[in-house]
């Protein structure tokens, strides 16, 4: 019953080095940079060009710190820790040096924070507030370069660029599609590309997040929101079976952008452009907002207290077939499987596919051909992968369509069912004859978990409110089960998860607490 957590195969223990950073003793593996060791000591040494996912450039010179007995200030990103080293970050000498760097970075910077998308989450702002000069001593004209469209989703605001080269290194080392370069030299230098070769790589949009300043911006979210107006919810991308961790950023209950959230075991610091830009459907306005019951030729709105018993009545004693969306959470799929078990019957799901787009610089990271988040989770709880969503539907079954894509369902097939229950976010035209329609939240509106292609179970959390009376999908299915006398009602997604963990072997021993926000791999490891 052991839960397989992080792989615990015998990795040689690295030699540890003891040093002191700002008076705090730390012990870190040999070869680590002072900058990373500083993080372990709880101190973020200001930096720009350094990024843990990229090679060391050492060019911004922002991370200079004082190391006792060293003749010069050391770039902490490029200086390895040493036994007994004593590092000072906030001495006058180090502070003066970093202030000098900030002054230099700002002399030609347009200081247009009021109209810059990065404002509020800009490292140039942050470190300038922290330790930069209060005013500039520049008495000469500033340098000016025009804005350039880099293609893809990327816009280059040249004047804000600090030439940290994170974007160049990402495209070169990680995307391995060297479309960016440093053009010219000296203060004429800027990030350049070759005419006709655009940022069209499937992962190119990551340069926007990597850019520590407002130089590389997303055209998609350009001028849409100020960063301080945004709410951030940790989530998991439902675009494919990779399960990239991400943050859903909303303003006034509207999703305005998706950004990657680091997870060393899944997506490092990155997410692909397909996932990043596919969010408009989350905000769609044609949602089912109240439970609907069919009366004659029309649906009438009903309260949940009426709709749930009505649903249970339809299901009572009948074989059931569930056509599920592979983007439903493990929790909801599990409860649906309980319905299948209780009433006899089966369930299936179909997965859309597309072409695979790997990120070559990161092992086992790709936009996967399987364009759904939770096909694995669906299989683990007993759904069958099928070519058509109603494969397995027997005549006389009660058909439950749980947010499955109904586009390709034919009327003939639907006619086999004795009754149709839609548990969904929308009511498609060809399901108008459904007896009951139960409105549910989409994945951005509820808590839950997905199981990715390597069997990693990862939590996502609610980012926005569901419209109208729509409820989280696990809640709705749980209530139906309770009304059938086949289970308890659940009030939290975590309770559903716990119930699943004690019922389904693959999830044994897991809980929301042990999953954390990085996830765990199902027992039996990768599927």
């Amino acid at each position: 019953m052991a839960t397989t957590a992080e792989p615990t195969t015998a990795i040689a223990q690295p030699k540890m080095v003891n040093l002191t950073i700002e008076g705090r003793p730390v012990s870190v593996p040999e070869g680590m940079s002072i900058l990373e060791a500083g993080k372990r000591a709880g101190i973020l040494i200001p930096h720009y060009c350094y990024h843990p996912g990229l090679s060391i450039a050492g060019n911004c010179r922002m991370c200079l710190v004082e190391v006792e007995k060293a003749p010069k200030l050391a770039p902490s990103c490029a200086t390895a820790v040493a036994e007994g080293q004593v590092v000072h970050i906030y001495t006058e000498k180090a502070l003066e040096a970093r202030k000098g760097v900030l002054e230099m970075l700002l002399i030609n910077h347009p200081l247009d924070c009021p109209i810059c998308d990065k404002s509020g989450e800009c490292e140039l702002q942050d470190f300038t507030y922290q330790e930069g000069p209060a005013e500039s001593r520049l008495r000469d004209p500033k340098r000016f370069n025009p804005i350039e469209d880099f293609g893809g989703d990327v816009l280059y605001t040249t004047n804000r660029c600090i030439l940290c080269t994170r974007c160049v290194r990402f495209m070169d080392e990680i995307a391995q599609d060297t479309v960016l370069n440093v053009t010219e030299r000296g203060d004429r230098a800027l990030i350049g590309k070759f005419e006709g070769k655009d940022m069209t790589h499937a992962w190119a949009g990551n340069v926007i997040d990597l850019c520590p300043v407002g130089a590389l911006l997303s055209k998609d979210s350009l001028n849409k929101a100020r960063s301080w107006e945004l709410d951030h919810a940790p989530s998991v991308c439902p675009g494919c079976s990779q399960g990239c961790n991400m943050s859903i950023d909303t303003r006034d209950n509207v999703v305005v952008r998706l950004r990657p959230r680091p997870n060393e075991s899944v997506n490092k610091y990155f997410m692909c452009d397909v996932g990043r830009l596919d969010y408009r459907w989350i905000n769609r306005q044609d949602r089912v907002e109240v439970p609907l019951l069919r009366r004659g030729e029309a649906h009438v709105a009903a309260d949940w207290d009426i709709a749930i018993p009505a649903t249970a009545a339809l299901l009572d004693g009948k074989r059931v077939f569930v056509a599920a969306s592979p983007n439903l959470s493990n929790e909801t799929l599990y409860l649906l499987s309980r319905l299948m078990r209780a009433n006899g019957g089966s369930g299936a799901f179909t997965v859309a596919t597309g072409s695979e787009a790997p990120l070559p610089g990161v092992e086992d990271l790709a936009l996967r051909a399987e364009r759904a988040a939770n096909g694995n989770g669906a299989e683990l709880v007993g759904f069958k992968r099928a070519a058509s969503p109603l494969d397995g539907l027997a005549a006389g079954d009660v058909l439950v369509i749980a947010d499955a894509d109904s586009t390709n369902i034919s009327a003939d097939k639907l006619a086999l069912a004795s009754a149709i229950i839609v548990i969904g976010t929308t009511l498609p035209e060809n399901l108008r004859m459904a007896s009951v329609v139960l409105p549910i939240a989409n994945y951005a509106e509820e808590d839950g978990t997905f199981t990715n292609l390597r069997g990693r179970v990862q939590r996502f959390s609610q980012a926005k409110a569901a419209p109208g009376m729509a409820r989280p999908s696990w809640w709705v299915v749980g209530d139906v089960l309770a009304a059938l006398g086949k289970g308890d009602a659940y009030y939290l997604a975590s309770e559903v998860f716990s119930a699943m963990a004690s019922d389904v072997t693959a999830f044994a021993g897991m809980s929301y607490d042990t999953l954390g926000m990085r996830g765990l791999v199902v027992s039996g490891g990768a599927l």
Partner: protein, 437 residues
């Protein structure tokens, strides 16, 4: 011989002995003058014996930093199973310096020989000679010399019949001062932008193509055959002052002086005699005002300092400057120091590789301020700002280009402050030159 002037009696012509001697350019001519005897002898010695001789000679790098050559060579660990490389730095681009140009122009085989010995001594089979693209004539001469050397069996897989492989590849630069910095040069050879690299790793550990590499200046390498043939003691004996500064050294002299050109003197020579006797003193009717003695990256000397200087590594430091690359730039009383320091700053701003913030922005900012002062638009606070920028540019970057830009500004303001103040007080000043943007 000597070029463009016959060697002066005060000189010690070792490397420059055949400057101006057209016959020395060819392999036959070079052999008649004792060429390749050094290589022949070296190949009969073990690499460690050569390193020991060079160590004992006290030869120090002639490119600017003055690091002891033998010690540098000893960093290359024999038998580590990796290919070793020798890179010869012939990117001579330090303003005021043109000695390597003349070495390659008149005695190309001397460099082929020096490179071959150096390569053998450090266990390298390949030596890259990185010659700046502007040196079209030296490039042609070097290419011809290498071809002759291959044809004569001096180079190749059986160098001089010893069974040892020594290849020399000429690599042509394309216009970048910073490629004279050793790690930038390695990047340039690899086909990258000439950005200096962070050290460590040092070149002897991971240099060009990530293999152990030694980088030596042209003048350093051409001194080696002489040391091999005539012995370490002879070379060590060439010293007029400090035992830490041995051998003869080429000084390139340019600017406002009667006889510009290359002069080779024993280290420790009197700078005053050098300037007034060997180089013929100031132009008629003029007076010397200031000297930059070691290429534009070293501090400016006043004449008082210059005239008290002994020409060796320590002597220049004692008198407020550095020997550097030995490029002596002479300013006379007709020059405005503000204008010239502004021009020097512009040079560095043009050549900054754009990596480090302080250098990319600092060199350009310094230039803006200096040119504004030059044009009579300066303010009193500008000088303080310049000092402060210079401080930010010193000792904080990957390489020393940034530091080098700060040097003439700081030494210039310190030593010629009145010229700055005169311009700041006279807002109507316009420089004589206007046409050049």
């Amino acid at each position: 011989m000597g070029y463009p002037h016959p060697s002066h009696a005060g000189e010690t012509p070792v490397l420059s002995q055949y400057f101006g001697d057209r016959e020395a350019i060819t392999l036959d001519g070079w052999r008649k003058r004792g060429g390749y005897n050094g290589l022949q002898k070296a190949l009969s010695m073990s690499p460690s014996e050569i390193v020991d001789v060079v160590k004992a000679s006290g030869l120090r790098g002639r490119g600017g930093a003055g690091f002891p050559t033998g010690i540098k060579w000893s960093f290359m660990k024999p038998g580590d199973g990796k290919p070793h490389y020798l890179c010869c730095n012939a990117d001579e681009s330090e303003p005021g310096t043109f000695k390597d140009r003349e070495i390659m122009r008149w005695t190309p085989h001397a460099l082929v020989e020096g490179c071959a010995i150096g390569a053998y001594a450090i266990g390298a089979e390949t030596a890259y000679i990185y010659i700046r693209g502007e040196f079209t004539e030296p490039l042609a001469r070097m290419r011809a010399a290498v071809r002759e050397a291959y044809d004569a069996g001096i180079l190749g897989k059986n160098a001089m019949g010893t069974g040892k492989r020594i290849d020399i590849v000429i690599h042509k630069g394309a216009g970048a001062y910073i490629c004279g910095e050793e790690t930038a040069m390695m990047n340039s050879i690899e086909g990258r932008r000439g950005n200096p690299r962070i050290k460590p790793p040092f070149p002897a550990v991971s240099g060009v193509f990530a293999q152990p590499t030694t980088i030596n200046n042209v003048e350093t390498l051409v001194a080696v055959p002489h040391i091999i043939v005539r012995g370490a003691e002879w070379y060590k004996g060439l010293s007029l002052s400090s035992p830490k500064s041995t051998g003869s050294k080429l000084f390139s002299v340019c600017g406002n002086i009667a006889k510009p050109g290359n002069y080779e003197v024993t280290l420790g020579f009197s700078f005053k005699d050098f300037l007034y006797d060997l180089c013929g003193g100031p132009l008629p009717g003029r007076k010397f005002k200031a000297i930059i003695p070691g290429g534009i990256s070293v501090p400016i000397q006043t004449m008082e300092e210059a005239e008290a200087t002994k020409m060796d590594y320590e002597g220049f430091v004692e008198q407020g400057s550095m020997l550097g690359s030995g490029g002596v730039i002479v300013f006379d009383d007709q020059q405005n120091m503000v204008k010239q320091i502004a021009r020097a700053a512009r040079f560095f701003a043009h050549e900054s590789c754009a990596q480090c913030t302080q250098c990319r922005e600092g060199t350009a900012w310094t230039t803006k301020i200096m040119e504004r002062i030059r044009d009579g638009e300066g303010t009193a606070e500008d000088l303080d700002t310049l000092f402060s920028i210079a401080d930010n540019m010193t000792g904080k970057t990957i390489c020393v280009l940034s530091d080098s830009c700060a040097v003439p500004v700081v030494s210039g303001i310190n030593k010629f402050r009145s010229e700055f103040e005169a311009l700041i007080k006279k807002p109507t000043f316009h420089p004589v030159t206007a046409a050049v943007a």
